[in-house]
Symmetry: C2
Subunit: 424 residues, 2 copies
């Protein structure tokens, strides 16, 4: 079916869901060898079809220009040679990861004599809803495949031709490895109502992962009858304690803001202990000015840095994703933790301190998915954490929190081994 001749979306989505559910049972017991073979065959097919990918992508880009998409959107949409390289590298990296499925842990004898352990299993069917980047199609499909899940992918309508070309390579790779083509289904329609079906079919889809802007994620979360692994804001903080190595603190605080501006783990608010503010803020101010970062400060900050503008209540709640930084001077660790737990988004927060007890308290008392001591918030990332890859970052607590790798796409079941044991 193509996007032009699907007239009955409800039937199409139900068929697709049924196929995904059926295939998920086959994938759940696919061998590591077959899954890895598929990943490498997908890479080989994409490599062989580079010219086709670029041609199909240029159709999307032309249509995007005609539709008046912003330059940022066109940039996200574009497949370049180096972006195709990254897709291929990703496939090889995921093939090299340890297969999480079937791993049995904690197989302990109980007093009755039965042995009880846990076996890691796929979630089943993963639905991914994303916007313009076509590389998500490969990355997400590869992670789901490696973790034994069937996938239903719904990319942005702007990337339709690119995604269909990538889909063809994915299906070719699955075929080569002897796995069902329905292991990865990419919607052959750009109808918006298809998304409504995806998020309301818990009988066919076990989890939805939306990737894109906050608007998309909130809409899907509100509407979904299926569990959602979601990432909302990244309002990340760095707190500079008064017992601190100044040079180290400056290096980390500058890195956390300036290494990249548009990422969710970038610091948006800097908290500085009163006792050290007069020493460190002028040094930091110079460093940020060199990077062209606009500073907005509380009253105390403004006294120390007279040229900066005032931060309002709204600044403490804003994810700038831009070269702007809010600065607040706080009396002590308690005030810093209170500020973070009040205004933060439970994403990533760091303390810079040489004080052992304050470091320990910060780790326990800050309720965020990543808590750090003397390290840049920019490290909050699946690759940096050694997960091997990342399907997203969860700002929820339920099921998965923080960077989500293969394990976040799995569950566990109990395994009980006996030799004729009965319950007395």
């Amino acid at each position: 079916m193509t996007h032009t001749n699907i007239t009955d979306i409800a039937t199409y989505m139900r068929q697709l869901g049924e196929q995904a559910r059926t295939t998920s049972r086959i994938l759940a017991r696919a061998t590591t060898k077959a899954k890895n073979a598929a990943l490498l065959a997908i890479a080989a097919d994409l490599e062989a079809k580079r010219p086709l990918l670029l041609t199909e992508n240029s159709k999307d880009l032309d249509a995007g220009v005609a539709k008046g998409l912003s330059q940022a959107m066109l940039d996200r949409l574009e497949l370049t040679t180096s972006r195709i390289d990254s897709m291929l590298t990703g496939l090889h990296q995921i093939a090299a990861l340890v297969d999480p499925i079937g791993v049995i842990t904690d197989l302990n004898y109980q007093p009755t004599g039965i042995q009880v352990g846990k076996m890691r299993i796929p979630l089943g069917v993963v639905g991914i809803i994303y916007e313009s980047r076509p590389n998500v199609t490969v990355d997400a499909a590869a992670l789901c495949l490696k973790s034994g899940n069937a996938t239903v992918l719904r990319g942005g309508s702007e990337a339709f031709h690119s995604n269909q070309a990538i889909a063809a390579s994915i299906h070719q790779g699955l075929k080569v490895a002897g796995l069902p083509a329905e292991s990865v289904q990419i919607l052959a329609t750009t109808e918006r109502s298809a998304v409504d079906y995806m998020v309301t079919m818990p009988e066919y889809i076990d989890v939805i992962i939306p990737r894109g802007g906050k608007g998309l994620i909130e809409r899907i979360n509100n509407q979904s009858k299926v569990p959602v692994i979601k990432h909302l804001d990244g309002i990340c903080h760095v707190y500079i304690d008064d017992q601190v190595n100044i040079n180290q603190a400056v290096a980390v605080a500058v890195n956390a803001k300036t290494q990249r501006y548009g990422t969710c783990n970038t610091m948006e608010t800097l908290l500085v202990a009163e006792k050290v503010a007069a020493t460190i803020l002028p040094i930091l101010s110079n460093a940020y000015q060199e990077h062209g970062v606009e500073l907005r400060g509380c009253q105390t900050t403004q006294k120390l840095l007279p040229n900066i503008i005032a931060a309002t209540e709204a600044d403490w709640e804003t994810e700038y994703l831009a070269p702007i930084l809010a600065i607040k001077v706080v009396p002590d660790l308690d005030a810093a933790i209170l500020h973070i737990n009040t205004y933060g988004s439970q994403h990533t927060d760091a303390i810079l301190t040489e004080n052992y007890d304050r470091a320990r308290r910060f780790l326990v008392e800050v309720d965020s998915s990543s808590v750090m001591v003397n390290a840049s918030t920019r490290f909050a990332d699946g690759f940096e954490y050694g997960l091997g890859a990342e399907i997203g970052i969860s700002t929820d607590k339920f099921h998965a929190r923080g960077p989500v790798g293969l394990e976040g796409l799995t569950s566990q079941k109990f395994v009980v081994l006996g030799s004729g044991h009965i319950r007395l």
Copy 2:
């Protein structure tokens, strides 16, 4: 507030939610010592107030009789001396469990030099919605307290006086241990709309655990805007393979059905391999008859056991919770697995076999929360699995699957330790 003078439920529930959220931050960092002290002080206060508990409970029982509650409901509602004993034992057992909170695992160095690990944390606020059994009030509150969660409890209106008396002891115990009384809030209203608020306040409540009949659970699950840890059907199977120790198989198959009838892990359908059916079914039939179990069989079973009635399609989908057993003769393991994955409820299923490969295949291919080899399905239970206690059994895959103990009431956050590390 009592149940008679709460006129504005919306305001009451919002206040209660805010208090739970605030208190959850305090509980998250409560010491193991304080939490255990509270559990033991609650036990001591309940012990001291036995006469009051029995008096308050008799008010509920009298009202229940007047309202015409069924004998089964009145039985669940009753607090006896031995049930109070069990509550006290439970509190002592939970106090003796290892505190899961704050445990850091997998603290590994990454190539960049940062150390990344995971710290176990409470979920936050747990809402429990249950029916008549007053002992759930203590059990659930104790498990949530030990795992550092604030709790909002909504018991059945029939148990109102019993629950309020128990609530008073819980608050007294919390006070003795220096923990906030709001750590455990038991609704002081029997208004049904209070439940509607509970399940639609994700800003205050992080997870809902409904305990009771399937109707209650389905209603809450459909309505909830908060993640639900739920238990639906327990349609459990035992498959007797043809390569089997007959005596062992008879013992386990009889135990799985007859050890208790009303429990979710009781076998409801017995699958028997064709080759062994003629040998084992007559033996089993005699054993079940001695226990007064009604048998319903497929056509092949009926040929071997001419006196039993025919099983219909509906029987394969029924959780009897009664001395009734459906029996189906299947050609082989493949047919057994297909039957279980089609008609089962993904709860607990067992294979009885001496064949190594079939045992391994069953464990991998049956998609249920507990899969067993040569053991009775009746072992599927938090205590039997060594979890120490159980707040429920989850038939979902997301977050928690199978018996849910303390760990199911927790999440994990990433901990990053550096010494001035920046991302390059």
